[in-house]
């Protein structure tokens, strides 16, 4: 292989870091006590973890293969644009269904705004 050793080390560190962060996000999804806390794990940590993995893959295929590889950039851009949108829509659905938060939440989720309530 024609990859320099230091670049290979960077790729390996990126892959390992991405997998660790994504596993932490999924652990948060599995273990947190209520839905609003569970929303934090996947939508922040998992996106960053998958982003690190995609960056490592981008480096690997750009150096070893033939030319720059575009698909990873597309996937990363798409994920980073759509992850906040889907998190927002899930939080709105949870508010709409009145999913209860844990009792010791200091500022419990409010009811939806006027336009939503009168439907």
């Amino acid at each position: 292989m024609g990859i320099p050793v230091w670049l290979e080390a960077v790729i390996a560190i990126l892959l390992l870091l991405g997998a660790l962060v994504a596993a932490l996000g999924s652990l948060g999804l599995a273990r947190m006590p209520d839905f609003y806390m569970r929303l934090h794990g996947p939508t922040k940590a998992s996106t960053l973890g998958v982003g690190c993995t995609l960056l490592g893959s981008l480096l690997y295929f750009s150096v070893s293969g033939e030319g720059f590889s575009v698909q990873e950039v597309l996937i990363t851009l798409f994920l980073f644009v759509t992850a906040p949108v889907s998190a927002h829509m899930m939080a709105r659905a949870a508010l709409h269904r009145r999913v209860q938060a844990v009792a010791k939440t200091t500022q419990p989720p409010r009811e939806l705004g006027r336009g939503e309530r009168n439907k």
Binding site: E8, L27, F35, I75, A83
Partner: protein, 89 residues
């Protein structure tokens, strides 16, 4: 070095897929199940990318892009159904 790291990363992602599956099956509310399914999609993209590195082939990334697209559309459709009671108005 990459050959050494790749199985570890795949194992960690399989572990997180299992945890997402746990939340998908157990989730007390429908919204928890939707969140589990969405995270399952995102982690499946990462597994596909790692498989692409392991097999040294770029063709598989089109599948990852398609899965990202379908996962987002599915999440939006399900939450829209919960909020509005209808997907297409």
């Amino acid at each position: 070095m990459i050959d050494f790291v790749l199985p570890i990363a795949l194992g960690l992602f399989s572990l997180s897929l299992l945890m997402n599956l746990f939340r998908l099956l157990r989730g007390p509310d429908v919204v928890d199940r939707i969140l589990g399914l969405d995270t399952l999609n995102i982690n499946a993209i990462a597994v596909i990318v790692l498989a692409g590195i392991a097999m040294d082939s770029r063709l598989i990334f089109e599948a990852a892009l398609l899965i990202a697209l379908m996962g987002f559309i599915g999440t939006v459709a399900m939450t829209q159904y919960l909020v509005r009671g209808d997907v297409i108005e």
